[in-house]
Subunit: 146 residues, 2 copies
């Protein structure tokens, strides 16, 4: 199994990060504007990216320092994978440690998703710091795969 990992940090309150991860309005402001369902523990959120399809994600855990997701539908490579968000403290900073675990192959699509996650984490950081993220469809394009 292979894992995508990322780290960002902000001096903004951890509650703002948690809000962006656990509410539909928050998720719409940094990942994709086309999101519906429930982002609370036990809920399922449906994220869509126009012609590029999307993901259905079950929220397995919500705590002040952790949000856990399990992918239940989407591209074959994503189904059954887990996404973890841990929020830790480092001095004046709230740190977000991101893991997307359970990739069965280090396929080219995983390379793309790793870079794209970094783009969306920058969008999340911008959202909590400035009030404006860059969710799809106005996300930063990195390649022919968007």
């Amino acid at each position: 199994m292979f894992t995508i990992v990322h780290r960002i940090a902000t001096t903004e309150p951890a509650e703002k990060v948690l809000d962006a991860l656990t509410t539909i309005d928050g998720l719409a402001d940094w990942w994709t504007t086309d999101v519906s369902g429930s982002a609370s523990a036990g809920g399922i959120s449906a994220f869509r990216f126009g012609e590029n399809g999307g993901f259905d994600i079950a929220v397995t855990s919500v705590a002040p320092d952790h949000v856990g997701w399990h992918v239940v539908d989407g591209p074959a490579e994503w189904i059954g994978t887990d996404i973890d968000w841990r929020i830790t403290r480092d001095g004046d900073y709230n740190v977000v440690l991101f893991e997307h675990r359970g990739w069965r192959e280090q396929a080219e699509f995983m390379y793309h998703c790793s870079t794209k996650w970094a783009v969306f984490l920058q969008s999340l950081k911008a959202l909590v710091e400035t009030g404006t993220g860059a969710p799809a469809p106005r996300d930063v394009q990195i390649s022919n795969w968007h």
Copy 2:
């Protein structure tokens, strides 16, 4: 061992990507302005990031579709690791497949470097597409670790 992977693509010529990876002037325009040494096969390049230190990297391979680096000095986590740049073609796009291999631990510093590599790959893409990248010290900051 753990690996950081990324993927970007551009419609600009592969030669521009190769030039940005294999010349000191090119590297200075997207990774760090403080780079010296030789970026050709068999050479060693010294990359510095002000008070954050830097890396000495041996160039192990240069070909039209591949550049190989081996880290010979820098943070303990980086020493002995390998960085591979593969350039492939997908329709109208030249694709850059990036691997940073040989991480002995999935430590928090690896999470940071994964996100930071994505930031610098965006800088590389901007350089070949617009003529202007965002190398250190004017790189995009992602956290308290820069």
